[in-house]
Amino acid sequence: MTDLPALSFAGVAFAYHRSAPEVLHDITLDVSDGAVTAILGPNGVGKSTLLHLALGLLTPTAGAIEVYGRSQAGLSRRELSRIVAMVPQNEHVPFDFTVLEYVLMGRSPHISTLGMPTAADEQAAVDGLGALGLTELGSRPVPELSGGERQLVTLARALTQGPRILLLDEPAAHLDLSNASRLRAILERLGREGTTVVFSTHDPAGAAAVSDEMVLMRDGRVICHGPTESVFTSSHLSETYAVPIAVARVDGHPVVVPGEHT
């Protein structure tokens, strides 16, 4: 863990077109290196957009983003892809690639445009599957996997990139309780191993269980950011979701109880 923030947003704003209204306003925040950070907020607040900006897929209309102290705009796509990997919310795979072929695609940042994967790359893919306990899925076609399996396989692909920063867009959205818990365990382990994890979610309790830091968003702005213990409070959450929310602990695990919508 270094002192340099993994990601640093300074006064970032974003609009989809020149004439369209801004969806993100004046975002200034640092994502600590090696921390697991959760982004929370109501639907449509711009969580995905924020992640896409962190990925470099979208360019800010104002402000600047730095990745480990270097300007994101100055990094080539290949350099960026060696540092940042993303697990999208819904990954659609149009052809019957096997899981292993699919995970192998994660090695692409290390392979030139006209190049082929090497034996080392193939091994990295196999290892990547193994690390998540997915080896037996290796020769199954990706489109035939269940939602949970597919999410984990996508994660394996992202990890095969060997990134320092891992972004996940609502990773537990389509997972049942068991898979969601499995995913949380993986994210926790990644955090301990030094990977910077940033994920967006609709599940404040689950987020609190696993994250070191939290970012609360409302109306396209960051209204609160910091260590989970200080951010994860009733008042902050109620302000974020515009619904009274009570925070409690059951057997040591954080629990949220939404109240009546006024």
Partner: protein, 339 residues
């Protein structure tokens, strides 16, 4: 020292060898199939007993077979590239305005340049308009407000294809009083009856580099088939890489179309066959498609020139084979078509 290429390509070569051998065998057998001196089979001993038979085999059949193989490779290569890049298993060069644009460009060049029309200029014009056709199909598809992406691309492509087909008709019927252009049935149904070694040699500057680019980028094609978000996250220069592989595919297809007319269904069926047998990984599916495409078109051209005393337009034979094959394939397997 560079790391050794993965074991996968080695085993890929092993799996593809039978196809390569099959192509050579089919080509060799095709040399003895024709209408001279008798329908269908030419006895090999005639090669040294009959001068004309020797000329028929070497100057007439062999260039046709080579051209058919190159044509098949180009169409199948174009098909798998289009299907992968557009994430749409239901497209091929003939559905996205590529073949029709090429025919239009070629006929325009022949007519416009007249006697100054060198084969390379004609093929260049074909490639230009093929690219225009492809771009138009994609642009229109993006603007349609009906159905999912797969459907929209097919609709946009159909419209552009029809536009350029009509364009060929216009060029032929309104602007060709001296009949410089081959008849409209040549363009719309295709044929290799006029093929010579010259024509084959003129194909090479477009087909070989085009297919070389497609082959070199075959692993990259896997990435390009994923959604933009993912491909970007994997470090793919989406626009540039798509443009490169599409340019390679279109170069090959347009040159082949300029020489042989619009041949349909090969580009649609062959990639499906290749993926079904060899898996979806383009590292193997692409070379497999090229080889299967070559074999298919060589056989179709054998039928076109030998079955009857009269030449059957090649496009009719490939349509029969391709469409029938497609129906069989589609009704017996699950086709995953994204919305």
């Amino acid at each position: 020292m560079a790391p050794a290429p993965s074991r996968a390509p080695a085993s890929a070569l092993r799996r593809l060898w039978p196809l390569g051998v099959a192509l050579v065998v089919v080509a060799a057998v095709s040399l003895f199939v024709g209408r001279y001196p008798e329908p269908f089979w030419t006895a090999p001993n005639l090669l040294w007993e009959d001068d004309l038979a020797a000329r028929v085999v070497w100057s007439h059949r062999l260039p046709r077979i080579v051209a058919a193989a190159l044509l098949g490779m180009s169409l199948a290569g174009g098909g798998i590239v289009l299907q992968t890049v557009f994430r749409n298993p239901l497209v091929e060069p003939g559905f996205l305005g590529v073949s029709q644009g090429a025919a239009f460009g070629a006929s325009l060049a022949i007519l416009g340049l007249g006697s100054a029309a060198s084969p390379l200029a004609v093929e260049g014009a074909a490639m230009l308009f093929a690219l225009v056709g492809l771009a138009l199909s994609a642009v229109i598809a993006r603007r349609l407000r009906f159905g999912g992406w797969v459907l929209r691309l097919i609709l946009g492509g159909l419209a552009v294809s029809a536009l350029f087909s009509a364009g060929v008709g216009v060029v032929k019927y309104l602007a060709d009083p001296l009949a410089d252009l081959p008849v409209i049935t040549f363009w719309l149904l295709g044929g290799l009856s006029g093929i010579s070694w010259q024509a084959v040699i003129h194909l090479l500057p477009f087909v070989l580099p085009g297919l070389a680019v497609v082959l070199a980028m075959r692993w990259r094609l896997n990435l390009l088939s994923l959604q933009d978000e993912t491909a970007f996250s994997l470090g793919t220069a989406l626009t540039r890489e798509r443009a490169l592989v599409l340019a390679g595919a279109v170069a090959a297809v347009s040159a082949a179309t300029a020489v042989a007319g619009i041949i349909g269904w090969v580009g649609l069926l062959v990639p499906h066959l290749a993926r079904r047998v060899y898996g979806a990984d383009s590292r193997i599916a692409v070379p497999a498609s090229l080889l299967i495409g070559a074999i298919l078109v060589v056989i179709c051209d054998d039928v076109a020139r030998s079955l009857l005393a009269g030449e059957i337009p090649l496009g009719i034979v490939t349509s029969l084979a391709g469409a029938a094959g497609f129906i069989v394939l589609m009704t017996r397997t699950t086709l995953r078509v994204p919305r």
